[in-house]
Symmetry: C2
Subunit: 418 residues, 2 copies
């Protein structure tokens, strides 16, 4: 059947399911989440079996070992997924919150309340744990979800989606609150991106290429997530040991994530001393430094010459670009030009420099003297996150349950006219 | 020159201007707004002269008298525009507000603050007052704006934009905080809709056709505004005089606006009595009723038979569709099918029916026993509005200054790493 028709049908079912789900009590939603966690545990063997098909197909298709690792489900990882869903069940329900309200001079009582968005689409890549994470967050916030994972994980995703659907049905919710697009073609992705009228928002989770494709092709509203070209600027008044420590942590504690840094900027007044300390730390993990001319002259032959492209690249690897700048202005200009608006840091003991940096840098998270690795829903105290928004509309920074909601005004009168 | 290049150049200037404007103090922004108001007053004669060119071109092109009226600037209307800008100067500045914050267990101090969106595009039709209204709201909330009005109003818009640009420059702001696209072609509109990287959001203000075109063609994030297919449902337990009064007000006090109603639904148990009272009121303004079969049989020959299309139409005129329904469920189903999600009303004295209606109806504003005409920034106590959002992402309902902002996290540490 035409994939557009298939998706319109799924959209219709999701919309209908979302209407009931929007009115469901927290107790019912939590029961459904606990049923999912319990099913994940009891079906562990079957999930690993389904996943094995994906793994062997991936190996046959020559997927990189990193990708195979992301794809793999183990007992431990499935237990982690179940615990993740249980954690979401424990979070407080944002739906129904009265945000503000009051009585107008004409006696009208106006109340602004929190409601679900409706139907959320999630497009993601090879990690099967996203299937249960994303579905659980959508369910808790009262939204129906249409999931579309990568073709590499299709057998795993089908198995997870199937068990979630029966689990929530057994808990008294409509199983169409969670649906998986089983067609993993590009056409199916395109059809999902144009499912206006059914989909209230589409959230891509994955690499830069996926996110760009979704932003460009979608007619449905999109929340951009994830791309992180993050910087640390070492000011002339920085504590240089602290700077080296923060840079080491932000680059090497987990290079593959979006809140890791990709470029450092170092004030020329202290570049000599600072770079020596920084390089010493980075050498512990054999981080390749790609430097500007001044960096090269200060650090010598081990530095790879940096090109314009380097400043624009999210390496997600043990590689770090480095540029010596004349002053704070030049650092801010560099960041303004290359930043993806995710997380930016200044290391300084200077009050005015710190104030100016946080004021002028336009990013979701701006740090003074701390690692960019803290940009994370859990670290911010929000619990599980659906992603980190790098756009300014609707949500910015780590997105939790509240960011999956909208508002509604309720106006109570006794016959008022205007 | 290629319109895409022209717009990219405007976008670049706007982006640069927005960076400075984002850091501007309220006092400076207010001074700029008062300078605009003062210039509007002192240049009244010149504005009327420029407007006269649009009026005569419009008459020559056979524009309807309603459109000519919307296009026309008078001394009184220009004074109204100046007062509108002054009112915006008096409103409190949302930028810099600390929304929430606190200290994390590791000592990090996290603060969530309100920042401008950046660069806002506004696409609108023939009303020249939108030029100053929209620019003033964007300026106050710290956003640069690119305005694109209809070709009918181009001379008026140019004159207004020119005086606003010199006014804000004299007050110490960059004049590129406000720019007008002087090319009124469709190509220029399309280029604006694809100005990713420069435009943070695009807000269409106007009729259904304009809004649909923007939603379908834009790759920039859009906030949908305005379309209002609104309903009043008269429940079996309604106070029928109140119902007739609310319907009369919601239909006839200003039929051309989006919060006016287009269809009424009447419970069959009270349809006989209710429709008689309602018709009596509507007859005062010669409102044409397009009714279902039951309405026809109850009200007789004056009722025009309603077709499916009628329920889907925003008449914006002295026409009202009417359908008799069997119960609350049927009313909710009808509204769910045809509503544009703007404003919906139930008239009832029944507690459970009222509760169910507000819970199940998915619209920006849901009313019990009051006219839908109150969905308005001023009536809600928000001051001037940039439009009424009928989408669920970012903003819903009347959009004021707060809805033209985003957030930023500031994280202060003393060397924390993860």
């Amino acid at each position: 059947m035409d994939i557009n028709i298939v998706l319109a049908e799924m959209g219709k079912k999701a919309k209908e399911a979302s209407r009931l789900l929007a009115c469901a009590d927290s107790a019912v939603k939590n029961r459904a989440l606990l049923a999912i966690a319990s099913e994940l545990r009891s079906k562990t063997a079957a999930l690993i079996e389904a996943n094995a098909k994906d793994i062997s197909a991936g190996e046959a298709n020559g997927l990189s070992s990193a990708l195979i690792d992301r794809l793999r489900l183990t007992e431990e990882r499935i237990e982690g997924m179940a615990q993740g869903v249980e954690d979401i069940a424990k979070m407080s329900d944002p739906v129904g919150e009265i945000i503000s309200g009051g009585r107008r001079p004409n006696g009208l009582q106006i109340e602004k309340i929190r409601v679900p968005l409706g139907v959320i689409g999630i497009i993601y890549e090879a990690r099967p744990n996203v299937t249960s994470d994303a579905a659980a967050l959508c369910l808790k916030s009262g939204n129906a979800v249409i999931l579309k994972g990568g073709k590499e994980a299709i057998n795993s995703n089908k198995a997870i989606a199937d068990l979630m659907r029966s689990a929530i049905e057994s808990a008294g919710l409509c199983k169409d609150c969670i649906q998986l697009v089983e067609d993993t073609s590009r056409e199916a992705a395109s059809a999902l991106m144009r499912l206006n009228g059914y989909l209230d928002v589409l959230i891509p989770r994955g690499g830069k290429g996926l996110i760009r494709a979704v932003v460009e092709q979608s007619t449905v509203p999109v929340i951009e997530t994830g791309a992180g070209n993050c910087h640390v600027y070492v000011d002339k008044d920085a504590d240089l040991d602290m700077a080296a420590n923060i840079i080491f942590n932000a680059k090497t504690s987990r290079p593959s994530v979006c809140n890791a840094i990709e470029t450092i900027l170092v004030h020329s007044d202290i570049a000599d001393k600072a770079l020596a300390k920084i390089k010493q730390r980075l050498d512990e993990k054999k981080v390749e430094i790609r430097g500007c001319e001044k960096t090269q002259s200060l650090l010598g032959a081990s530095v790879v010459p940096a090109s314009e492209t380097d400043y624009d690249t999210e390496y997600l690897d043990y590689i770090l670009a480095c540029r010596v700048v004349e002053n704070l202005d030049e650092a801010i200009e560099h960041i303004t030009k290359y930043s993806s608006g995710h997380s930016e840091c200044i290391v300084t003991e200077n009050y005015t420099a710190a104030q100016e940096f946080v004021q002028r840098i336009d990013a979701a998270a701006v740090y003074i003297n701390a690692s960019t690795r803290f940009t994370d829903g859990g670290e911010f105290g929000y619990g599980a996150e659906i992603g980190i928004s790098t756009q300014k509309l609707h949500a910015r920074g780590p997105m939790g349950l509240y960011d999956l909601t909208s508002v509604k005004y309720i106006i109570r009168g006794n016959g008022q006219i205007r």
